[in-house]
């Protein structure tokens, strides 16, 4: 295992956190400490209400899944135990709660890998906790800022994306460390809980590999001419078009 003494992880009881932990372990990275936000049956964004399918259809022909597969139904604490990082559990879900802010401030290192519950915006207090927050956005930045952007990029360019950024007060507007596009997977019905998380985990591990190799965080060198577009939660009709449109027509754009 490669210990990361300057890097801690804040995670929540979500499929994304499972993807991160299992992929960090597979890549051999161990954060200095893990802070877990967990509240059983909280039913928050990112949590599944049902047992998820374990793998997408046609997984053997799915390069992204082959690279970053994970068990979405695992026990989060077992994932952490397997990684070997020390951890604390807070019976809270709000990243901006004062006790969470204090817990984050007390984490070792100056960088926090952030994997909280979906839809939460980091407010001034947590952003001033003395850490930089490395977040992997589910979309290619700055083209696809905001919510559920992988469905939009599936429609527009037959791709999904993930971008590692340091969080700032403005949503998805921090400096981009690394960004990747991935072809739309063969099974497009598992984006929410499998492929989006797998894409983010892939980029997270690539960022850590650069950091571990060079001692510096990478810079995606986004040109100032690249235009940012902000998207909001996708309407179900567009989501169905993204998932069920025939590939031949999809590529007509």
């Amino acid at each position: 295992m490669i210990d990361l003494p300057n890097v801690s992880l804040v995670c929540a009881d979500t499929t994304r956190s499972r993807a991160y932990l299992q992929n960090l372990s597979r890549a051999g990275f161990r954060p200095a400490k893990v802070l877990v936000l967990a509240k059983p049956q909280a039913d928050l964004p990112g949590q599944s209400r049902t047992i998820l399918v374990e793998r997408p259809l046609n997984a053997e022909n799915d390069p992204l899944w082959q690279t970053a597969h994970f068990d979405p139904n695992s026990s989060l604490l077992e994932d952490i135990t397997a990684n070997g990082a020390p951890f604390n559990v807070l019976d809270l879900t709000d990243i901006n709660h004062p006790d969470v802010v204090a817990g984050v401030a007390a984490l070792p290192g100056d960088t926090v890998l952030y994997s909280g519950f979906g839809g939460q915006i980091l407010r001034a207090a947590i952003l001033a906790a003395g850490k930089q927050f490395l977040h992997v956005h589910g979309g290619y930045l700055p083209d696809f800022r905001g919510s559920t952007t992988n469905y939009y990029s599936m429609i527009e360019e037959a791709a999904i994306g993930a971008s590692a950024i340091f969080l700032t007060a403005e949503i998805d507007a921090g400096p981009v460390l690394m960004r990747r596009r991935f072809p739309v997977p063969p099974d497009r019905t598992q984006i929410d809980h499998l492929h989006d998380s797998a894409a983010r985990a892939t980029v997270l591990c690539e960022v850590l590999q650069v950091y571990n190799r060079t001692g510096n965080w990478p810079d995606a060198e986004v040109a100032t001419t690249e235009t940012a577009r902000t998207f909001y939660v996708i309407h179900p009709v567009l989501k169905h078009i993204a998932v069920f449109r025939e590939p031949a027509k999809r590529n007509r754009q």
């Binding site: 909001y232 309407h235 179900p236 567009l238 069920f244 027509k249």
Partner: protein
């Protein structure tokens, strides 16, 4: 049988957030088309659009009347202001008659369907110029809201709703890969 459930209750009474919407398979799109066609078929004549009034964009510290901002957008569209108003709607799924000068805090009741219909028409007209998924996404939600209200509530905006539903249909066909 799959049904379109995103406009089957009054969304001005019971909000729809659209988070983690469930995939229902291709029949969902047929159910959507059927639901929209039924609304279109039931629209009475009248409820026409007024020509836009010349109106400047807000500049000072006074509260913003949403109707005035829509006037300005209809007269001379500004993408920045359109984006701000779309953001207000997307966050709350509501349009209030008055906002503060930063378009943050709101006042009044969010039940004036004319405001929703006018924003829908602005986005529909924009889709006639460029197929921007951001505007189509918001147009779908505005049209859900307008399709969900009672016939009496919808009466003043029937012509605007016909225009916005027709534009929505053309844009959906475009993205589905059919001839627009």
């Amino acid at each position: 049988m799959t049904s379109y459930t995103y406009a089957d209750r009054n969304l001005l009474v019971e909000n729809e957030h659209y988070f983690y919407s469930v995939l229902q398979g291709p029949p969902f799109l047929n159910a959507y088309r059927t639901a929209r066609a039924e609304v279109l078929k039931g629209l009475t004549e009248g409820g026409g659009r007024q020509p836009p009034e010349k109106c400047a964009y807000p500049t000072g510290t006074d509260d913003i009347r949403t109707a005035d901002l829509l006037n300005a957008l209809e007269w001379d569209l500004d993408d920045l202001w359109l984006g701000k108003l779309v953001q207000r709607f997307e966050i709350t799924k509501r349009l209030y008659p008055i906002y503060d000068n930063r378009l943050r805090k709101h006042a009044g009741e969010a039940n004036d369907v004319t405001l929703y219909a006018r924003l829908a028409c602005i986005l529909a007209a924009e889709l006639g110029h460029a197929q921007d998924l951001r505007w189509l996404n918001t147009l779908l939600k505005l049209n859900d809201t307008l399709c969900s209200v009672t016939n009496a509530q919808r009466e003043p905006v029937t012509q605007m709703l016909r225009f916005s539903l027709t534009a929505e249909d053309a844009a959906i066909k475009f993205w589905e890969g059919s001839s627009p």
